[in-house]
């Protein structure tokens, strides 16, 4: 990737939820990043940090409170005609976390996968649709025989394959995978990750891979964005981020992952963060991480750290690296 082409630009994206009694939950607060064509951007963070909300806002399942999501030069958040909206949605698809609840139990696999095709390509005959579905099933490692079965007849890994086939059905360019492997067993996770990588190579897909399992994210992503309490705190190439994490939160997160190697585990010094993630309804002033940060300074309580490029393509929002 010498000449990187931006597929998606997320600019100052905000998504606030009104939770009643005049309270506002800032789930995603001023997030900006780019996703390049053909790459995998990993989005990691603990539960409740807003990573799923960010994904869902990008794909317009939620309307953004403010900010822009520019897809291939086109702002997705402005009002559009129904036709334009449809063609935009055809380009972006999503894979969900829970393979069981994301498939309609009363539809056959054929119906599930063909539904999207029918929506976007009305002129197709049912025979053609069927043929398309068979092809898709094959490409995700299932076969024709599975087409007339119902979701409950499949294992979790197989259901996730069906979910992937459904996402691929309308030939999208961009796929958001929201914790696609979190609900699966270890030995099945690798199958699904390999499948996703294979499909990316074959079809030139761009992924936004949302997960909390950092070792898997590192494996699949070209670049990684780390989120904490609604904001992105660090963004870098995946190797760079792991070798040289700058933000204290990233450092703690990396050191918290247990490594499946007893010799390393015995000698490893852990940074153990104190306390829990603060209530997002009432985030701390200044830097959001300061209440748990081992390196917090006076300035952190007062000023929100700026998003800055510390070295090439390595962004961080922390006062420690103020130039």
């Amino acid at each position: 990737m010498s000449e990187k082409e931006k597929l998606i630009e997320v600019k100052n994206l905000k998504k606030y939820f009104n939770v009643g009694k005049g309270k506002i939950l800032k789930a995603v607060d001023d997030v900006s990043f780019d996703i390049y064509k053909g790459e995998t951007l990993g989005l990691v963070g603990e539960s409740g940090c807003g990573k799923s909300t960010a994904g869902r806002t990008i794909i317009q399942l939620y309307n953004a409170t403010s900010g822009q999501v520019i897809y291939d030069g086109e702002d997705t958040q402005v009002k559009k005609s129904a036709v334009d909206k449809k063609s935009m949605k055809k380009k972006m698809q999503m894979i969900y976390q829970d393979p069981y609840s994301s498939l309609n139990p009363r539809m056959t696999v054929l119906e599930i996968i063909a539904e999207g095709i029918g929506n976007h390509e009305v002129q197709l005959k049912s025979k053609e649709k069927e043929a398309r579905v068979y092809d898709l099933l094959e490409s995700v490692g299932l076969n024709k025989k599975h087409a007339n079965r119902y979701p409950h007849e499949f294992s979790g890994g197989q259901c996730q394959r069906i979910g992937i086939a459904r996402a691929l059905a309308v030939a999208p360019e961009f796929i958001i995978a929201d914790e696609p492997i979190a609900a699966l067993d270890v030995s099945i996770q690798a199958q699904i990750v390999n499948l996703l990588q294979e499909l990316q190579q074959k079809k030139g897909l761009t992924y936004l891979f949302i997960a909390h399992d950092l070792s898997m994210v590192k494996h699949i992503s070209d670049r990684i964005a780390v989120m904490y309490l609604g904001g992105v705190v660090e963004l870098a190439g995946s190797e760079d981020l792991y070798d040289n994490p700058l933000h204290p939160y990233t450092q703690a997160l990396l050191s918290a992952i247990p490594i499946p190697d007893p010799k390393i585990e015995r000698t490893r010094e852990r940074i153990i963060l104190k306390g829990d993630v603060p209530n997002p309804m009432d985030p701390p002033s200044g830097c959001r991480f300061r209440t748990r940060c081992p390196k917090a300074m006076q300035i952190c309580t007062e000023i929100v750290p700026e998003w800055q490029e510390v070295s090439s393509n390595h962004f961080v929002a922390c006062h420690l690296y103020k130039q």
Binding site: Q158, A190, Q191, H219, A256, I259, P260, D261, D276
Partner: protein, 348 residues
């Protein structure tokens, strides 16, 4: 051995299913737990690890489960022969358990303080004031700030990590000799997981409790355990010290698990090697080795006869036909790739 505190011998547990079917969830599990050590039981969902733990606590529902065979010796006495009353004396005071989901294992309608005191009152004679003090001390021990005030709070006022701390405090209230932790950190975030694991290690040092930790996360195993038992389809297929399991795995399933995990330090280009297929249905187990259908080194014999246990070393044993002397020579290819050697076996 003298220092063995818990010994499970040939445990068989089945569940009744409709149409007089039977799901053999645990099939002939045997292991020992020594005083003060940590044993990890690893396996995928449905491999029988939780059922093993629950059956030695006698917590399985009576209507549909049967402990068909086997013994559970706790300090030399068979727990499976205990009456319900005798068992209640053991639970919580001698052996206690931490469950996976801290929200559902706490009573939402009782204050945290009451729940901790409940166990204490049952097993130990305390005056009311002492009881309150002791419960607050326990909360402090597991790192909950201002314990005196938090005693009056309800579970929903605690975060996930704090709830799990409370559950651990409850489990340790009566200084049990054995702690069964069934996926204690699976529902938690990594930074909170690190806190909880750290806490468990710390408490073990202080109290000398022996821990059985049930998990599917090999990272957790590496950081917590001294010995490991790998379960597959209701059987323990390999046991050994952590080093033996991680650096010299003998069973193809153990190797497969290790290879399918991404390594933090490995280059991105290394491909994961998944285990193909899915675990067998415990209601209709195939004959022979249960892993045969997914095993890359499968031989004819694997489909018809179950492998017997082979002792590799004093601490390491494995159930696999490849260890049989008549089996063809297998070749281990050591490749560069992270700290766990990329291992592949090839049958000539």
């Amino acid at each position: 051995m003298e220092d063995t505190i818990l010994k499970i011998d040939n445990l068989h547990v089945s569940f009744k299913t409709h149409n007089d079917g039977e799901t053999k969830a645990v099939r002939g599990v045997s292991f020992e737990l020594k005083k003060g050590e940590t044993l990890a039981i690893v396996g995928e969902s449905g491999s029988g690890k939780s059922v093993t733990a629950k059956s030695l606590m006698r917590l399985l529902p009576k209507q549909n489960s049967m402990i068909k065979d086997g013994q559970v010796f706790y300090e030399g006495k068979d727990l499976l022969k205990y009456s319900i009353k005798e068992m209640q004396k053991i639970r919580g005071s001698e052996i206690s358990m931490v469950f996976q989901d801290p929200m559902t294992s706490l009573n939402p309608t009782m204050t945290i303080g009451k729940q901790i005191m409940e166990g204490l009152r049952k097993h130990q004679a305390f005056r009311k004031k002492e009881l309150f003090k002791k419960a607050a001390d326990l909360l402090e021990l597991v790192g909950i700030p201002s314990p005196m005030e938090r005693m009056k709070d309800y579970p929903h006022q605690f975060s996930g990590g704090m709830r799990q701390r409370v559950v651990i405090a409850m489990a340790l209230a009566c200084n049990p000799k054995v702690l069964l932790a069934d996926e204690p950190t699976t529902a938690l975030d990594v930074t909170i997981q690190a806190q909880i694991l750290d806490l468990m290690k710390d408490l073990q040092k202080k109290t000398g409790t022996a821990i059985i930790i049930i998990t599917h996360d090999l990272g957790v195993v590496a950081s917590m355990a001294q010995r490991v038992a790998v379960m597959y389809a209701g059987e323990i297929i390999e046991t050994g010290t952590v080093d033996e399991i991680f650096y010299e795995p003998k069973h193809p399933y153990t190797c497969g698990l290790l290879l399918s995990m991404p390594k933090l330090h490995a280059a991105r280009s290394t491909k994961l090697i998944p285990i193909p297929g899915i675990p067998p249905d415990l209601g209709q187990l195939p004959e022979g080795c249960p892993f045969a259908a997914r095993c890359p080194y499968v031989m004819k014999v694997c489909h018809s006869f179950s492998p017997s246990k082979t002792e590799v070393s004093e601490t390491h044993s494995v159930s696999c036909w490849l260890e049989d002397e008549r089996a063809p020579q297998v070749e281990w290819i050591d490749g560069a790739g992270g700290s766990i050697d990329e291992r592949k076996r090839k049958v000539d």
